[in-house]
């Protein structure tokens, strides 16, 4: 029996499990291959939904579905936490520490974790929309926010969905205008480097739009500390900025599992960017946010990586030489307000072209959000 273990039930892990169930259908049914998906959360969560929660357009329940409804019946689903990866013995330990699972090929798809406490005062002083509780708290805060200074600050890089920090100020600008409150709210966007976004074309596009919509931009702005009582941000560069409502993109971290297994110093797995094979161990792959590759931590990346890794794993399970590779393909929608959007598409080393925002692209984005569950099933 050739055993494939996938740790993590987000986009990467779920798409991969379903693709493998399809590609290795006959081998699984013949008992020659096992595809096991291990995830601590019985729900699959589609995180991009949270961007719409503060504006009352979605609820946190819209973001989740039981994972057992999404995975192919040929996949062995284990709802449990993996607490140790032993790459010398090719085995995993589960939370009870006595259950061990052997693998022939392992894929880590454990995602990224929020770490607001890495910056003093941020957890107390700032809001975010990167998780269910944060998105709901921000929704309640925004509903009562009628005047003052709203600051959207990108505190941590890398972070999930690099488009979202740019989208939020554009959406909140539009949302406040619709409610006749925009004139009483000042909006500032901050970014750590010397332009408004890591991708130059997105930075140029956003800077023009921000200027058009009276959104101030502060660059070279690295938050050192937040004083929740004084409602003040202090930066590494020695600047200060007062806020009334702080929406932050918090620092992210990888996984302790990765550090403990010696697969990557910072919790992100060191991998070959094309094969997604771990550089520090044999028979181990990483996909999605936990893989340290030079592109965005975005669902589309996890999706395309899962396709390449499914082909590589299936080839090896059949005793063939894997040839499939991931070229860095990334696709991101960018909301430019409450009813228009654009999208970008690029591969490793490519600078994306940003199209003019339009209503049809916004509706395509909302349509994709609804059909996402087909993506998770490996169908789209």
């Amino acid at each position: 029996m050739h055993r494939v273990a996938i740790v993590g039930g987000g986009t990467g892990g779920t798409v991969l499990a379903n693709r493998l169930a399809d590609e290795l259908r006959s081998e699984i049914e013949a008992g020659k291959v096992e595809v096991r998906l291990i995830t601590a959360d019985p729900n699959h969560v589609y995180k991009p939904t949270f961007l719409y929660v503060p504006f009352g357009k979605k609820t946190v329940d819209d973001a989740k579905r039981p994972i057992e409804e999404l995975v192919d019946r040929r996949v062995t689903l284990t709802i449990d936490e993996v607490v140790d990866v032993d790459t010398d013995r090719n085995r995993l330990s589960l939370a009870d520490r006595t259950t061990r699972l052997h693998y022939d090929q392992l894929v880590l798809a454990t995602g990224a974790n929020l770490e607001p406490e890495a910056v003093p005062g941020l957890a107390e002083g700032g809001h975010h929309f990167y998780g269910p509780d944060g998105a709901e708290r921000l929704r309640d805060e925004l509903a009562d926010f009628t005047e003052g200074h709203l600051v959207l600050s990108v505190v941590g890089v890398p972070h999930m969905c690099p488009a979202a920090p740019v989208e939020f100020p554009l959406m909140v600008d539009d949302w406040l205008r619709e409610r006749g409150r925009r004139e009483d709210v000042e909006i500032t966007y901050t970014y750590p480097i010397n332009r408004a976004h890591g991708l130059e074309s997105v930075a140029d596009w956003a800077t023009d739009l921000f200027e058009e919509r009276d959104i101030a931009v502060e660059t070279f702005f690295n938050v050192d500390e937040v004083d929740p009582d004084a409602e003040l941000i202090q930066t590494v560069e020695g600047d200060e900025l007062e806020y009334d409502l702080l929406v932050a993109i918090p620092p992210h971290r990888g996984s302790d599992l990765v550090i403990d297994a010696g697969l990557g110093e910072d919790g992100w797995v060191d991998v070959d960017r094309h094969t997604l094979e771990a550089t520090e161990a044999e028979d181990v792959y990483a996909i999605g946010d936990v893989a340290d590759v030079p592109t965005s931590k975005a669902g589309s990346v996890a999706h395309y990586e899962a396709g390449a890794v499914a082909d590589r794993i299936a080839s090896r399970a059949r005793g063939e030489t894997p040839t499939a590779t991931y070229d860095g393909k990334t696709v991101c929608f960018l909301e430019a307000g409450m009813d228009e959007a654009t999208f970008i598409e690029f591969t490793y080393g490519e600078e994306p072209y940003v199209r003019e925002p339009s209503k049809p692209i916004h509706w395509a984005k909302l349509g994709y959000n609804e059909s996402y569950w087909l993506t998770a099933r490996g169908l789209l």
Partner: protein
């Protein structure tokens, strides 16, 4: 021996695309004492302009930028 021959801290950001190397540097510098000499290794050409700009903004000292066969070494001293 000059400071740049024997840096106190080396950050390997080779293969990370912009702004990865600069962000790695900023994250590390926040944890270091004044006087620490850092070598940032990067393959992103933008780093050779972005990093000096940030160092000036944040008040740290650029010591040297050395072009090697496949990457750049940017040396700086934390102030």
């Amino acid at each position: 021996m000059t400071d740049t021959d024997d840096p106190d801290v080396t950050i390997d950001s080779k293969d990370a695309s912009c702004p990865g190397p600069l962000m790695a540097l900023i994250g590390k510098v926040k944890t270091l004492d004044a006087g620490t000499v850092v070598e940032l290794q990067t393959t992103a050409r933008n780093s050779t302009t972005d990093v000096p700009e940030w160092l000036e903004e944040a008040g740290h000292e650029l010591l040297e930028i050395e072009e090697r066969d496949e990457y750049w070494s940017i040396y700086l001293e934390v102030n």
